[in-house]
């Protein structure tokens, strides 16, 4: 699993990247009450706002970690946004995307690096 400075995680699965937010990010957000997902098939560029996530406190965005295409979204989050707090690094993934330029992944941190980043 790789981690970004935007508190996202990426996990490779069947040739695509599964993307979600970290436990730390979920804790900071507080109780999540609304998730708006992108449409499958959308082409995105790194840092595009692809997901809107609202907690009891505020609205925030999740940015595309790399260039690519959204191939699948986790529709269960729309009906049950609280999953994001319950299992942010497991069941509550947001979307799966293909990666156009794998070199964009080079800057991402490993688990130890991310723990250091948030410490």
């Amino acid at each position: 699993m790789k981690f970004t400075e935007e508190h996202e995680w990426l996990r490779e699965e069947d040739g695509v990247m599964v993307v979600g937010i970290t436990i730390h990010a979920a804790e900071q957000l507080g109780d999540v009450v609304f998730v708006e997902l992108p449409e499958e098939g959308t082409t995105v560029s790194k840092d595009d706002e692809v997901v809107v996530i609202e907690s009891v406190k505020a609205a925030s965005d999740i940015l595309a970690p790399v260039d690519g295409e959204i191939v699948e979204v986790n529709a269960a989050l729309t009906d049950n946004p609280a999953m994001v707090n319950d299992d942010p690094q497991g069941e509550a993934w947001f979307f799966k995307m293909s990666v156009s330029d794998a070199s964009q992944m080079d800057e991402f941190m490993d688990e130890a690096g991310y723990q250091k980043f948030i410490a």
């Binding site: 507080g30 109780d31 009450v33 609304f34 609202e54 009891v56 406190k57 609205a59 946004p81």
Partner: protein, 374 residues
């Protein structure tokens, strides 16, 4: 946060693991480890303890109750003179344009008036009272007292275990109680829509009293985050968001707070700042009205979201002034102002969220029925 003021419960909040944030110049707990959602739900099912010591507590005294009450009536459009001893009312400071300078609670304690004002406004309110009241009225800010709210259906039983007299109080009664050896001024009121109490206590006793209350069955500490969602579901205004210097009491849906005796034809008609404008709004109806807004989808509509009549085109006919997620409603809730001809309950309007017009219905407030002990 060294530059921020601390309430007498600051170290208690820290020991409880609160997340502290700046609010109106004070370091205040926005949430505890329980989290905003659970804190909100706990207050509606058990009892929540809130530190509201940042609010201003003021005593007005003078040669007689009549002198104090009539002097205060020059600043507020409420019936103060008619307030019985041991009773409390909601009030508003108005300005010369009929706008709202602050909202407040005032209680009669013998021949004195006990006034509680918003933290962010208390400096201006003190100046307003000192300038606007005659010399024979003494205005004393009680900087050596804390204020603790205990709110929720479990509040009465919890407090009655410490002083049985608490159970006999009705909504908006004020009385002296002895809680765990501490003398307090209690009112049966609050700002959550639930039954409960606000307790004024000497600053040096506040920490011990709060710990005593937290040790009672079903009492948990609740932060400002849940306080906001509780008052929003209860349809109660947050000063600075839902009411301000540009909104008049009639547009704000606070006409009920202006008793007949101060309205046109009343025995003490007018005589408060902006009386002409406020009484005019009564007579002719306001241009816009504060309404409840229930988004039909799941997306919260927060303060600033513009309201439109149609799904496309047209100019805004209003805006959200408070909005978010209502944990008891289990969905988004909001309130705001719309043009008066669109303020009928059941009207479908549209709120623009991130460039999209989403359906929202004008609904009756509150979202959650009040649970007061009348």
């Amino acid at each position: 946060m060294s530059e921020l003021l601390k309430t007498p419960l600051f170290s208690l909040h820290e020991s409880l693991g609160a997340k502290m944030v700046p609010f109106a110049g004070y370091a205040m707990p926005v949430q505890y480890p329980m989290g905003v959602m659970q804190e909100h739900l706990h207050t509606r099912s058990g009892a929540g303890l809130f530190d509201v010591s940042h609010m201003g507590q003021v005593i007005l005294s003078g040669p007689s109750w009549e002198a104090v009450a009539l002097a205060f009536e020059a600043l507020v459009p409420m019936d103060v003179l008619g307030l019985a001893d041991g009773r409390q009312r909601y009030g508003l400071f108005t300005n010369e344009a009929g706008g709202i300078e602050d909202d407040l609670m005032f209680a009669r304690r013998g021949d004195t008036l006990f006034v509680v004002v918003n933290a962010a406004c208390k400096g201006a309110d003190m100046a307003r009272m000192r300038a606007g009241l005659p010399d024979e009225i003494t205005v004393e800010e009680l900087t050596d007292r804390a204020l603790i709210a205990l709110q929720g259906p479990g509040a009465a039983d919890a407090l009655a275990g410490l002083d049985a007299r608490a159970a006999d109080m009705r909504f908006m009664d004020v009385t002296d109680l002895t809680l765990g050896g501490h003398e307090v001024w209690a009112s049966r009121s609050g700002y959550t829509g639930e039954d409960g109490y606000e307790i004024s206590v000497a600053a040096q006793d506040a920490d011990a009293l709060a710990r005593t209350l937290l040790a009672l069955e079903g009492v948990a500490p609740i932060g400002l985050g849940a306080r906001d969602s509780l008052r929003l579901e209860a349809g109660l205004c947050l000063y600075g968001n839902d009411i301000d210097t540009r909104t008049d009491p009639v547009s704000a849906g606070l006409s009920w707070a202006i008793q007949k005796v101060r309205r046109r034809g009343g025995e003490r008609e007018g005589g408060f700042p902006g009386a002409a404008q406020v009484l005019e709004a009564f007579a002719n109806g306001p241009d816009q009205r504060r309404v409840g807004l229930k988004p039909e989808g799941r997306a919260p509509m927060r303060a600033g979201v513009e309201i439109f009549e149609t799904a496309e085109g047209g100019a805004p006919i209003g805006a959200v002034t408070s909005g978010g997620f209502g944990p008891t409603v289990e969905g988004p809730v909001a309130m705001g102002y719309v043009m008066a001809n669109h303020a009928v309950h059941g009207t479908q309007l549209f709120g623009e969220v991130r460039g999209k017009r989403l359906p929202v219905e004008v609904v009756k407030l509150p979202f959650v029925p009040a649970n007061f002990k009348r």
